[in-house]
Symmetry: C2
Subunit: 148 residues, 2 copies
DNA sequence: GACAAATACATTGATATCAATATTATTTTA
DNA sequence: TAAAATAATATTGATATCAATGTATTTGTC
């Protein structure tokens, strides 16, 4: 006898249409592609842009708080810094006050790339904002913050 | 003379607080972790759950439409199928009517895993829904669909 | 001050993601 | 029908992501 468990197709449709995780992942991929494409002339991805922007502080940042801000694992941050270091856009130096810690800074060329990216971000972001019901993302941001 | 371009810190704060791409990526990572953790006892990730659920159709699916539904690149789908095939949860067969195409199907054991995942999805999803202002994600889903 | 606990980060291994490109098969056009 | 255009998928190379684990350093406690 065949005992194959069948999931009702209605369940599939329910998950497809309601799963917030799927909806957020889909939107994340679509937005990432859009920003990646806009930033490509600078050799930056959306994630690298967000990371570098978060390093634009009066004082060098430590890794932990940056990972928390971006909601990425600390090991992901370690990996993400590598290509930025290699291109000379970011420096990762030991903190003399705590030799476990690292000080993350933008280099002058990193700042130059980031400065060039800002108008691209502004234009792309304005386009995205416009697509949203209501014409701006305030409501969406509030909802997303409740999930992060 | 030093000609270092400085991005105003206010710009950094503006991007941090308003960038929809960053907000969506952050929420996507947080939700992915939550669903991954809940599904871990079954050996499934959130993405594998979404993919396998999208294969639960009366007729085997082709790759293109599945990639479009999930808003992933077709090459990502090719790669994502590999571990599922290896575990015997999914079959990838050539389509006799069009030998370029592939037919994607769940195996009986794939259906069994997926069936076991459904109650976990329901519970996790209900928890997430509750966290949202208004107590459900209808509004958020509408906003996200406008981006995907 | 020694030692246990906690902290900060790195490494490894697996999967996810996409751009660029290649391969194979079908469809259209001349 | 042969050649060109199109379509469906695979491969490669680079980065992204996280769990599990390891290492070095600091902190807290006695």
């Amino acid at each position: 006898m065949s005992n194959v468990i069948e999931i009702p197709f209605a369940t599939t449709l329910l998950v497809r249409d309601t799963c917030l995780c799927l909806h957020v992942q889909r939107a994340a991929r679509a937005l990432a592609r859009r920003f990646d494409e806009a930033l490509r002339p600078l050799g930056l991805t959306n994630g690298q842009f967000s990371l570098m922007m978060s390093l634009n502080r009066p004082e060098p940042a430590a890794m932990g708080p940056v990972a928390t801000l971006l909601a990425i694992d600390q090991t992901t941050l370690t990996a993400a810094l590598k290509p930025l270091e290699r291109r000379g856009w970011v420096t990762v130096l030991p903190n003399p006050r705590d030799r476990r810690a690292r000080l993350l800074s933008l280099t002058p060329s990193g700042k130059a790339v980031l400065a060039a990216a800002v108008p691209i971000w502004e234009m792309t972001h304005a386009e995205v904002d416009q697509r949203l019901p209501g014409g701006n993302g305030d409501r969406l941001r509030r909802d997303l913050l409740a999930l992060a």
